[in-house]
Amino acid sequence: MNSNLNANKDLHIVRREDLPQLFNILIKDGHQIVGPTLRDGAIVLDVLEGVAELPLGWTDEQDKARYRLVKRKDEALFGYSCGPQTWKKFLFPPDHILFKADKTRHGWRIDAGENAPPKFAFLGMRACDIHALTELDKVFIAGEYQDSAYLERRENIFIISINCSVVGNNCFCTSMGSGPGAASGYDLALTEIIDGDLHYYLIEVGSEKGEEVLGEIKHRTASQEEIRKGNELLTAAAQAISLKVDTEKLPKILKKSVEHPRWKEIASRCLTCGNCTMVCPTCFCSTVQDYTDLRGSQASRLRKWDSCFNIEYSYIHGGSVRYSSEARYRQWMMHKFASWIDQFGSFGCVGCGRCITWCPAGIDVTEELRFFCQNPLLDTTAKSA
């Protein structure tokens, strides 16, 4: 967790009116800038051409199964918490053609050639999003086999993170140790400060590349007072987070709760719609589909996002091994909060709260986790429950 700006580093100030320079330099450098913008009543992530496309003066209200845009009283560019989409869609696209093949007289000709992906600059990643990226890195590139499609996109990203001064009702990053400020993993980290007529960004440099880019933008060293203001905002944000999960014994408790009657109760509400896995920044599951044209002279193989809430996901030789809804919800929760640790050495949840906001049934994962913690199964009843 980080709710204090790094005291050992030089901090810088870029004024609001100089922010377009950041866009110019990144675009000149061949980056495709991806960041927050308004669409269809939400703040989504898309390719941006300039500062004007940022959600100026907007914030959001979030609750269980509820999201609404609300006008702010100021002209903040980053004054909201995380929206329905995650950055993973740019690194691990929902539909990705792995290869195409053409039938020729000499057999199949495989065309794996993909156009080189853009060189991304991610503007406005939150601390939880950066932690999620770390998890995805473990999944796709840290192991023995690397996912080339992910790696190609991941390698050259320039990351500009935003420390959260506004937190959503469903955020619980402080419990998961992932926010509200980013401790590392960025090239530049911004804290947006609006102080009367003054509107500026307190900037931490996280890499050499970050240093270079900052060098091209009009900036100056931050004063002690400005740093104090930034710290104040971050501390207030951390304190404003009311959702809490006690993670200490969580994996143990969950693993002992396999036969807990609560799963059935949750399943009575769960729609098995898969929304929670689609909006989760760390869910990485996919399926592979083969396609052919009618004549059988062209074929393609597609990798498509999948979810453990889908029956076919656990189809093994003649049937699904997780047919019941409770088995599927349990798989999801167990993976995020227990077995992920065995797999990757950390929680698979970064506390972004997206699955709470975007679950159409309003199921709150923290509420369920608290229930398991407060009502653990006694070892002796484990079998009979």
Binding site: Y67, P84, P94, G274, D293, L294
Partner: protein
């Protein structure tokens, strides 16, 4: 593949509006290609030339509403190696299954000058209530790309990619903002099978459920959510009673709110 005989295809119509079989004609660009790899042996909407059965593939549109059709579908089954139902009428009884919730005699006496000429069954039922169905394509109307996908898969001995999970999966993958969460618009997406490419939510409308119930529809929880959004019991009934009113889970749910 090249040496293989072209499979014979037949298209059959029962109680329906023809919209689904027209999706085959709507394939325009691909239609010639279809004709190149398949022998269209019996398709009255497209050609008067009819070849006798048996057929390798039968596409069946429409529901069973008359004693005559109940016999005819048995014949179609006997003549078909593979029987594929297409559209909400064939897979769920269709919009005409709304009569299943009322007494058919009341309708007949209002609609027809000579009710005694009308021979009809009391219910409109899906094809799989009568015969074994090998594969079904949902929708009102079906998605022509799903039709091409199934035909292409059959011709190439591969598994068709016709998922049975929720509309939400596709909706989110397209990057849509959920209309239910962001605007409070009731949406049947979570309990409806994917296949339309999340058409309605992509245009800021709630899903109407054209593709019928998804693989494990929790309609009870869905209706509770609608209730929280302020939808009254009568409207909840109507929500489930459109194109797939007689599909098991939608039927049960609407009936539960009738009591």
């Amino acid at each position: 593949m090249a040496a293989r005989k072209k499979p014979k295809l037949a298209v059959w119509k029962f109680a329906s509006c023809d919209g689904c079989q027209l999706s085959l004609l709507d394939c325009e660009d691909e239609l010639l290609e279809v004709a190149g790899v398949i022998e269209i042996a019996n398709f009255p909407e497209a050609s008067r030339a009819v070849k006798r059965g048996p057929y390798d593939i039968s596409l069946v549109e429409g529901s069973i509403t008359t004693p005559h059709d109940a016999m005819r579908i048995q014949k179609v089954r006997r003549m078909s190696k593979l029987l594929i139902t297409i559209g909400a009428c064939a897979t769920g009884g269709g919009i005409q299954a709304l009569r299943n919730f009322k007494d058919i005699k009341d309708f007949v006496s209002i609609v027809y000058a000579r009710p005694d000429y009308i021979e009809t069954l009391t219910k409109s039922t899906p094809i799989d209530d009568h015969v074994f169905v090998d594969c079904e394509l949902r929708g009102c109307p079906i998605n022509k790309y799903q039709l091409l996908e199934v035909i292409s898969a059959l011709l190439n001995d591969r598994k068709p990619n016709i998922p049975k999970y929720s509309v939400c999966m596709e909706c989110k993958q397209k990057g849509n903002v959920c209309v239910m969460v962001s605007k409070g618009i009731p949406c049947l997406g979570p309990v409806t099978q994917v296949g339309c490419d999340a058409l309605c939510p992509s245009y800021q409308r709630g899903c109407f459920g054209c593709f019928g119930p998804m693989e494990t529809p929790n309609t009870i929880s869905m209706s509770e959510r609608f209730g929280e959004l302020g939808i009254k019991a009568d409207d909840i009934i109507r929500t489930y009673r459109t194109y797939n009113s007689y599909s098991e889970s939608f039927r049960r749910e609407s009936e539960a709110y009738e009591r």
